[in-house]
């Protein structure tokens, strides 16, 4: 695991939290969308918060896909759950919401979980053909009619 790869994992969490929060804020400003005015759901994308939120969610998905290209699913999912911790910290210190003891306990459990998974390797080793083996396979394929 390089520093860049850790940055991608942090990106997954940060972009997901930012995107979700922006979309949620934008949707609350719009209010209830009734089934009779379904065109509103398309127009809502042009609101600045929602548009910015969608951009962040696209960045989240790109980072998530990049992470899955070099790490196991069972490594990426627990490590990126750092987003729940970020969300709680934002709620407490930026939005000044009341965070209950239970929620802090949840944050502690998630942190321990992340600690456990990052102790191990990020990717399950797969038997990959070495260069000499590939060479032998190629040569035997040429010999056979």
């Amino acid at each position: 695991m390089t520093f860049r790869k850790y940055l991608v994992l942090v990106g997954v969490a940060v972009f997901a939290v930012t995107g979700d929060s922006l979309v949620s804020r934008g949707m609350k400003q719009v209010g209830t969308i009734s089934l009779h005015h379904l065109q509103d759901i398309i127009l809502v994308v042009f609101r600045p918060e929602v548009a910015l939120g969608v951009l962040f969610l696209m960045a989240f998905f790109a980072c998530y896909m990049a992470a899955l290209s070099w790490a196991d699913l069972t490594y990426v999912l627990p490590t990126t759950s750092i987003s729940f911790i970020l969300l709680t910290l934002v709620a407490k210190f930026i939005l000044h919401e009341n965070v209950s003891v239970m929620r802090w306990l949840g944050v502690v459990l998630i942190s321990i979980g992340i600690g456990f998974v990052t102790q191990g390797p990020a990717l399950t080793p797969r038997p990959q053909p070495t260069e000499s083996e590939e060479c032998v396979a190629e040569m035997s394929a040429r010999v056979e009619p």
């Binding site: 069972t74 929620r103 949840g106 459990l109 321990i112 998974v117």
Partner: protein, 126 residues
């Protein structure tokens, strides 16, 4: 009856989002390390390889289904039940699915992590 609706929504969300994650993980492993691939042959190759991968297309379909299942679930049932229950169970279900379908080496550290994160998510919602 309402409980039954809520839990069937949770089951659908967990199943579809789990399928989505497993398929996306398989697709990206087939595409290969994107950073390395981009360095070697450019961003367009990465995009083309990903979009042409059948597992990627199936993953998007599964994730879209999960999204709509979540929307329907929320309109039928209590948010404070459906969201934490499906999020928490998805962590554990993904660990099981990754072991069976992706043959990932899910050792004790990863099992513990999946259970702790799942429990933590439930506590956050209390």
């Amino acid at each position: 009856m309402k409980q039954l609706y809520a839990w069937s929504a949770v089951a659908t969300i967990v199943l579809t989002s789990c399928c989505g994650d497993v398929l996306l993980s398989r697709a990206m492993k087939q595409v290969g390390d994107v950073a390395e691939l981009r360095r070697r042959s450019g961003l367009m190759t990465v995009a083309a390889r990903t979009l042409r991968n059948p597992n990627f297309v199936l993953a998007i379909i599964a994730m879209a289904t999960a999204f709509y299942a979540m929307l329907f679930g929320l309109s039928w049932a209590d948010v404070s039940l459906v969201v934490p229950a499906s999020t928490a169970l998805t962590f554990v279900a993904n660990a099981i699915a990754a072991k069976i379908f992706l043959h990932e080496n899910v050792d004790h550290r990863r099992w513990i992590a999946a259970v702790l994160v799942g429990t933590g998510v439930i506590l956050l919602a209390l």
